[in-house]
Amino acid sequence: MKQNTFYLLLGLIGLLEVGLFGISVLLKNPLIITAGFIMGIGLLYIARMTITDLKEDERSTMITQKAGFRTLEVFWVLFFAVSLGSAVIGFSTPLGLPHPKNMPPDFPRDEPHLGYFGIIQMILLCCIAFLYIGFRVYYARKYGEWDSDEE
C-alpha cells in the first residue's frame, strides 16, 4: 500500500467513526462506538504495516520517540489534575446504598458527571494531539527536518 492510500483510508475510517458515534447516540448504545473505534484503530495499524514507501530512519524514529515522551510527560499532569477534580465531585456524593432520601436540590449528583467527564476526556485527548504535533515540529526543526540543501 502507498502512503497516500493509507492517508485516504485514514480519512474514510475517521468519517465512518463519526457516523458510528451518531448511531451510538441515536440508539443510546455506547458499545457500538467503543467496539467500532477499537476495530477502526486495529485496521489502521494493520494497514500501516503494509505501507511500502514509508520513509523512516533512525533520525525520524528518534524525533517520534522524543515527541511522544514529552507529550506524555506534560499530559499526565493535565490528565491527573482533571481526574482529581472529577474525583472530588464523585466523593462529594453520598456513597453506598440505599439512596438517601430528602436530598437538598443543589446537592451534587454523580449521574450526569460521568457523561460530561467523557467529553472532558475527549477534549484532553485533542489537547494531546496538538501537544504531540507541537513537540514533533519542535524536534523535527531541531534535527534539521526542514533545512535547505547546500548542494
Partner: protein, 78 residues
Amino acid sequence: MHENMGSGIQMKNKIKVYRAMHDMTQEALAQQIGVTRQTILAIEKGKYDPSLELAFKIATFFGVTIEEIFVYDEMKSP
C-alpha cells in the same frame, strides 16, 4: 550518540568532503546507506549525530575508518 551533547562537546564530520571526493549527492548517499536525504543533511550540519551503526555504514561505504570521517571535538570552555 543520537544528539549533540552539551557542555562543549561536539561531533564534527567530513561527510561533505568525502561526498565531494566521490562526486555524490546527498540523495545518492542516503539511498546507498538506507536513510533519508534529510538525515544526511542533518549529520553534515551537525544537527544530528548518527548511531554507531550508521556511522559504520557511512565509513564502510567510503572505505575508511570512522575516525577519518567523524571527529570527537572537545571544545575548551571559556
